[in-house]
């Protein structure tokens, strides 16, 4: 490994360094305030490191592939983690002492996510995913009081481990069929292997999709989502929804493309079924949900269904331009989704805290008059989820519809449109609740003062709006990735 490769690994190194510093700090003096600042600094350094590494993009051993795309998503994910960190400062300061392990877990989890994003080998994928996952279990179960976090953690652990087993078994089958563990190697071998062992190869691929699909919570592997979203502390939910899902989707698309899984019609058909059911079931599930965390969980099911459309479209892309459009679509949608989700959870974290009752729709009544900044933040986020113009979500949807049309995926398009139409209802329900003016609400709940977390909300909602109303710079940037 030469120095240029080390440079390419800068984000991973920075995160590892942060982890080490945190451990040392813990051994010297346990102070969660200090730990928080170290973590924050570490994340900022990582973001810098990701920028720095852009000049050194290359494959680092057969395990990691550092490229612009991966670096961009690493940056985005670290940014999301930073937001989650800021949100958790408020939430966890109420919990009592000995909280600095949380920051270590957070850093390790991010480290896993970054590895996952850059992985080009089954081993690195496995390690990245498990590092991220195991740290996450602990983070979910972190609050000492209450039963919900624990229940969420144990559910997530068991189900996630089950999914990992499926993934690993799938890997094993693919390995058995192709004899290679790198994505590129598999891609090079599949044609031969398909002739030799079609059953094993396709079954293995299907199981890999199932394992990764679980992490993305697409139907029929979606059932854990609402419970975990609800039970986990809100900053952790935000982390799970953005970092974990984003990283897994990036890894999935890498594997899918490089291992050339898109060649098999039946696999595409299976994926299409997953996409369609996710789009519809996700929205249906959310329809009458009163708990905003569960609602966002269900809506995320639908959103990853939308994203799968792009993956499916890749399989029939006929030109470079089309492939470029699709990859831009994925980049844009995922970015928009992550930013929007953060914007939503920034508000939920502040309003609901860890009190499950405060996640209910009733707690949002009249928010516009009590806390305009937060209400605006959540409104923008929900509109972005719904795909209303001027928000990032709209451009994302615009991209996906474009992709579906260019690829003539009419069934998926219909599901996409149907799902979006259904979705409007439940997003709007919360907006309506926030705009209620009944005198009792406005009187009993005094107008909140401007707080630090409002800044987070303002930043995020500005980003969502900026990306939606002036997307050209980002489109150009994404096009170069």
């Amino acid at each position: 490994m030469n120095s240029s490769q080390m440079m390419a690994l800068m984000p991973i190194l920075m995160l590892s360094l942060t982890a080490v510093v945190l451990m040392i700090q813990a051994s010297i003096k346990r102070d969660q305030n200090v730990a928080w600042w170290i973590t924050a600094a570490g994340f900022l350094l990582t973001i810098w490191g990701a920028g720095y590494a852009r000049d050194f993009t290359q494959s680092v051993t057969i395990l990691l592939d550092v490229d612009d795309w991966g670096l961009f998503f690493s940056t985005l994910i670290v940014f999301a983690s930073l937001v989650s960190l800021i949100l958790s400062r408020e939430s966890f300061s109420r919990e009592g002492e000995r909280k600095e392990e949380y920051y270590l877990l957070l850093v390790l989890s991010v480290l896993g996510a970054v590895i996952l994003i850059q992985s080009s080998h089954m081993a690195s994928l496995l390690l990245g995913m498990e590092l991220m996952g195991v740290a996450l279990y602990a983070m979910i179960a972190f609050p000492e009081k209450g039963e919900l976090p624990l229940e969420a953690a144990i559910k997530y652990l068991v189900l996630s481990a089950c999914a990992s087993a499926m993934l690993l078994f799938g890997f094993a089958l693919v390995y058995a069929a192709t004899g290679d563990l790198t994505y590129a190697g598999i891609g090079a071998e599949v044609d031969v292997a398909y002739g030799r062992e079609p059953l094993v190869l396709v079954a293995g691929s299907a199981m890999i999709l199932a394992g990764l699909g679980f992490k993305l919570s697409v139907v029929p592997f979606h059932m854990w989502t609402p419970d975990v979203y609800q039970g986990a502390p809100t900053p952790v939910t935000a982390f799970l929804a953005t970092v974990s899902k984003g990283a897994v989707f990036v890894a999935l698309s890498r594997f899918y493309l490089e291992a050339e899984l898109y060649q098999y019609d039946t696999l595409i058909a299976a994926l299409s079924v997953v996409a369609v059911t996710s789009m519809l079931a996700g929205n249906w599930l959310a329809l009458r949900q009163n708990n905003i965390k569960r609602l966002l969980a269900y809506s995320s099911i639908a959103h990853f269904g939308y994203l799968l459309v792009a993956l499916i479209a890749i399989s029939i892309a006929q030109s470079i331009a089309q492939a470029q459009l699709i990859s831009d679509a994925v980049t844009f949608y995922l970015t928009a989704y992550i930013l929007t989700t953060l914007a939503a959870f920034a508000v939920v974290a502040q309003l609901s805290g860890e009190d499950d009752g405060k996640s209910m729709i009733g707690a949002y009544d009249g928010l516009f008059w009590r806390h305009p900044v937060q209400a605006l933040g959540l409104t923008v986020a929900l509109l972005s989820f719904a795909g209303i113009p001027l928000t990032a979500g709209f451009i994302g949807k615009f991209y996906l519809i474009n992709v579906a049309i260019e690829s003539q995926l009419w069934f998926l398009l219909v599901a996409l449109v149907l799902g979006s139409a259904i979705g409007i209802y439940y997003y709007l329900r919360f907006i309506f609740a926030m705009s209620k003016t009944s005198a009792t609400i406005v009187k009993t709940q005094p107008k909140a003062a401007f707080s630090g977390q409002d800044v987070v909300s303002i930043v995020l909602l500005t980003l969502v709006l900026a990306l939606g109303s002036w997307p050209q710079p980002f489109i150009e940037f994404a096009g170069r990735l």
Binding site: A123, I154, S164, A165, L168, A172, L173, L181
Partner: protein, 104 residues
């Protein structure tokens, strides 16, 4: 390698069987300890398949992954057991069917 030349497919079949047993265990056991054990079975089924495939291709990669899987499984179970302790303390039961406060 010499005397014992079992076809790859047979081992894959065995590991599939093992995997299925693990899965079945997950579905029918209610005690969290047994659930964790079933998970171990599933992970080991995958590991077995890796070892067999590595042997088939004459590569060490399969066994390396096997080691990785072992450590991953250990980590999962370590965290899992930690949670089990908490579960026992807070729910006073290990029956996972009782842990269903969130639904709908």
């Amino acid at each position: 390698m010499d005397g014992l030349n079992i076809p790859l497919n047979h081992i894959l079949l065995v590991s599939t069987l093992l995997f299925s047993i693990g899965m079945l265990g997950l579905m029918i056991r209610r005690n969290i300890i047994f659930i964790l054990m079933s998970l171990e079975v599933m992970l080991n089924a995958a590991a077995l398949a890796f070892v067999a495939a590595g042997a088939h291709w004459g590569q060490p990669d399969g066994q390396i992954i096997f080691l990785l899987i072992l450590s991953v499984a250990a980590a999962e179970v370590a965290v899992g057991l930690g949670l089990v302790l908490q579960v026992q303390r807070r729910f006073k039961t290990l029956d996972m069917d009782d842990a269903n406060r969130m639904r709908g």
